[in-house]
Symmetry: D2
Subunit: 396 residues, 4 copies
């Protein structure tokens, strides 16, 4: 470990995602052999006290109150962007142009146009060996990585159905406070971009198919919510008095869409997607089911260490096989604990660091690239377009 060349990281933002990324940077080299040794060199944030406290708590060596300073520093090799979506394009493009590798949280941007510029910057930078990746961390859940392996191995046959739900419930209470995630200016969209984007990426990645068209419906159940301080943070647990001043919710509360994959002919797979924060009782139910002609897969992040697999070859004694994805042969898990000792939410971020650092060490493009994330962005845009147009079919 000590002999590896350092990879000096500068992180922008230090809220929920910043904490998860920090843990990943600290932990990855303790369990995996990496070609470069991550160093938590600096963290940037506008609030000087806040960033200083975060640096202490999360283990960063120094702080900056402006992300631009981070990019200017010579002792930073990689910029890790953990801020709201409206800032991604500016930071990422500046970092790439300054020759810094970039890890950017999802969704890549708040618009296709921004995502296109970012992708262009990424592709230009890549020619000089400067690499970039978008943080669709659910790909690094061992069970979903195993799902993709099964598809790659042909164990599902031809794919017919994709059924993807991302269900949360933290907005069910109409008096849960307004947060930046409900402000279109900052977040780009609501459940669609925040959690639906994960479903889109996971569905496309696991199946190896791209969504070619959609028909969509967006809904905002609660139009105004009580304002609580600075609109920063995940929120969701507070319940303010009903006479607090209220802010307008400018994003979707729920997104529903049907999809076709890869060209949209009648021979193709069809999908149903749903993202909401009003599915009372579902806390983080990021679910994916794929039905093929030879096999089926089902996953629910609320039971994240398991993958259900149905193999038609087992008929008539077939049944969904609940695979506890903790065997040394399974993706990632061999580096952790013995069989049967499950992982948690943050391990996806650690694996993301592993994959990113490994790719940088081997000077190859990490996945998902900005171009991959741009495709997701285009699906998000198509969903919004269809929803605004009486659900009419919208090509991606």
């Amino acid at each position: 470990m000590t002999t590896a060349k350092p990879l000096r990281v500068g992180m922008v933002g230090y809220a929920f995602m910043g904490a998860a990324h920090s843990h990943a940077w600290r932990t990855a080299p303790r369990f995996f052999d990496l070609p470069l040794q991550p160093q938590l060199t600096a963290v940037a944030g506008r609030n000087a006290d806040g960033v200083r406290a975060a640096a202490d708590k999360l283990g960063w060596e120094s702080v900056e109150s402006d992300w631009r300073r981070l990019i200017e520093r010579d002792d930073i090799d990689l910029i890790d962007i953990c801020t709201p979506g409206n800032t991604h394009a500016e930071i990422a493009i500046a970092a790439l142009e300054a020759g810094k590798h970039v890890l950017c949280e999802k969704p890549l941007a708040n618009s296709v146009e921004e995502a296109e510029r970012m992708t262009l910057a990424a592709e230009t930078a890549a020619k000089n060996g400067v690499l970039s990746m978008c943080g669709f961390s659910y790909r690094r859940t061992p069970a979903l990585a195993l799902a993709r392996r099964f598809v790659d191995q042909g164990r599902l046959g031809e794919i017919r159905h994709v059924r993807a739900q991302y269900l949360q419930d933290w907005l069910t209470d109409a008096n849960a406070p307004m947060t930046w995630r409900l402000d279109k200016e900052q977040s780009g969209s609501g459940s669609l971009g925040d959690i639906g984007a994960h479903s889109i990426d996971a569905a496309q990645w696991v199946t190896g198919l791209n969504i070619s068209g959609v028909s969509a419906l967006l809904e905002t159940f609660v139009q105004e919510r009580p304002l609580a301080g600075d609109l920063v943070g995940l929120g969701g647990h507070g319940d303010l008095s009903s006479d607090a001043p209220r802010g307008k919710v400018t994003v979707d509360d729920a997104a529903i869409f049907s999809a076709r994959f890869d060209g949209g002919t009648s021979a193709g797979a069809v999908g149903v997607f749903e993202a909401t924060r009003y599915a009372l009782g579902r806390k983080n139910a990021m679910r994916l089911e794929v039905n093929g002609t030879k096999g089926s897969l089902a996953f629910d992040f609320e039971d994240m260490n398991a993958l259900s697999f149905y193999d038609a070859a087992d008929s008539p004694d077939a049944g969904f096989r609940k695979i506890f994805v903790t065997e040394p042969e399974h993706p990632y898990v061999g580096n952790w604990w013995p069989t049967g000792h499950g992982l948690g939410y943050e391990h996806g971020f650690t694996h993301q660091v592993v994959d990113l650092v490994t790719a940088i060490g081997e000077a190859r493009q990490p996945e998902p690239s900005f171009a991959d994330a741009l495709q997701v962005q285009r699906v998000l845009a198509a969903v919004e377009s269809s929803a605004a147009n009486s659900s009419q079919w919208q090509k991606v």
Copy 2:
């Protein structure tokens, strides 16, 4: 039991549904106190040998080879229609006009126009005390009846989401044979009318809300299938040689649609529906999830004796409560076995007979009426219309 006035039943059709209905007519009076005593007076079918064998096996006293004869008989009080959808209108209207009560399998008809005529006939007949009901038997599953009770009691609060899937897999194999269920002429539609209709009825009935508009996608994955004999029967298990003559599949294999309930304003509940026979590994997964502001419900017919209920009032120690619906206080089950002894598929039909005979005995309209079933038919038509029109929103 012996002192109750008889209710003399004539059944048309004797395949899968005929067997289920026969069992129900025989069994209902053994476990429930009915105001009228069902008698299995006659069964009608075109094939003389077949109907005779069925009568013996299923317990019918006499046979007819023409359903018209059944209607002409004085010793028949009720006509039970268990034939494909294209025959429903003619039989039901004739029966009602002849003063016979009618139980008609779902979907009510193959078109809205037929369903409207049937509803008109039903309403006219009702003025003379001749009653009719459509056979959406899933309503009689104790767990779904309990779900409705919970909604009625206000335990869910305002409803936000409905999520309804009806997943089967018996057509996954592209060489599974052609059956009447895949022929639009006979069946009206495919997965949409056969199983999706159950989801629509259950969703509307449990929530007490009507679907007001839809955006839909229909798909036929396999366009031609090997012909196997007379196209009668459920099929699905055979696997014919690939050089058998093939028939054209003229119905949908899968139906997907989003919906709004009750008026379609943005304040209303939204729904996602999916019906397919290609969800490999799902055998009869008729699932319904409802999320409200106070509680949520989840049901899967593959575990039909359980209802999952989430009560937000239990927070922070809330969780989906898996209610084993076998308590004497639960709908229907007190008449069967002690707590904990589950029921099976056919009990829904027995309960349907109980409800129908009780309503007739009390001279009141049984539910679901033909008018209720017409509403489902209108949703089916709207789905087909939207699907044919680039998924554009279609009011019901």
Copy 3:
């Protein structure tokens, strides 16, 4: 159906078990082709009004107020014994000696001595073609029959562990009323014989191994309970006032024992058994798990249509496969509904009739024989003996 020779049945007792058996006699010939046609000829019970009402409700042609009269009748071919255990020996032996086939509810008797006399009578009668069977109906659950098939096929390899629980909760309330099931004189034992006997039979039958020794603990949590009328019926739901007169509970509330199978060497399989009516929330959790060197099985009657099967050959992608036991190739189910349409509690009794009538029609010994049931009785006795002797190991 109509051409088969009749099998004229006389049933003794008409409570819970009587209702289940009546349904089975009525229903079996409607779904299965039987070599003999069951006829519900007569039912016997001491209470004249009660037995008359039961006959009407359950479909019996005539009544007797003394079981001895039933045995004397020439028009009865088979005696079906549905009374408490203390009456089994006398009725069964008399019936067998009178040349009547016998179906006797479990446990076979209230003592090994009675069971031995019954077995002797059965073996003597069998020489004259008079057959007998004990009603361990859980064997007829399709999922458990499939479990046995898997063991027979060698899919489990060498068996290491058996884990059997039968958990109910209807006595949790200390004021639930006294019933005949809590009176040792009538019932022989408590949870041990009532439900534990099912676990013992199922474990031995599925594994093909016999229990060779046990170490046991019996417990009675509530020593006295309010008296409610005639002490007949399952009880368990009433909650009498605390000043009602109380009767002494003379049986075990819970039975726990460890076991060795087949000879008791250290190389053999070991088992853990638990039967209780105080497992709050478990309504009819008759569970069986078997671990072998090649595969494992798990079953829970609360989800009775499923069998979980783990095949080590699937490693490293192995997982418990939840088989929905509704395929036509599975035991019994091909005669019922299409794939995916589950069965209920009473189907086990119907299948029991099918197997019994088929064996009688083919003039061969039905299973489980009285000798098989005697082995279970010996295990019950060993459990009681060990429990009375400081849990010391007791050979069977």
Copy 4:
């Protein structure tokens, strides 16, 4: 964080447990506010290269090749013992006598005699403010901590049943290699002490009851296993050739026992325990079910973020409520991620560090104390004694 006084840790052993403990020491202060700041000062191990590599990988500042040196060092405040059980007593007593706090892995020792000496040393040291704790880390699983809270709150009423299983399968293959865990000299016992001890501690801690007597059966299915190198490491995944030299397995493969709690009168709760490494398909199924007169609890470590709770007050609509233990109000989890984002196996060790450091900071006895662990040791000894004595009841 930086202002807290340091707590300088010296760890002995660096295999599976050493890695888990290291992660916990590194991570705890990043997510929790601790009164002392843990420092990974030194790690000791006999193999100089091995310990050096481990120190680099796991983040320890220095190394020692003899644990005695660790104890002699002035810059060490706490000794963390992660070695096999036969070394615990010597190290722990020496450390305590040297004034070092001690965290000792479970089981506390390989015999009651050792455990008694350790407890005496702990109690003596405590008078001087030197504290000690035994590492029953499963107590720190949020779901189990919530279970204990429910019992404390009286939500279960009087406890009737405890049902504890710890099922693994890594020895099912008779050719899995010999390891130190199968050598009585090093490990003290087999499944009993390794995993059964966790069940005993969890059952006693959650219920607040002590086991007062047991009846037990121990079994060794495979008497000899191929030798693989140094007998160090968890093993279990290799499969050596059948002609490798073989070592004798001197511990139990499976342990089964029944128990009474708190005095052993017939009014007390009863328990069933099972620990095995031959339950094919069960990877780390540490399960606990508790049935009381008012409520029941069920937990399975294979789904470690969930606790099932049945509240009889919900009748007749009661059901096991699957609580996703990720709410901020739940034990420990508020310091991690938002609701719905589950934790993994290693979090228990992190919470253990939190509780230990907090207790040391507050100068109070951490739990479980050595005295608590001695009670578990006495249960282990009683189990072995009963098993050696024909399962006869053995008081603890």
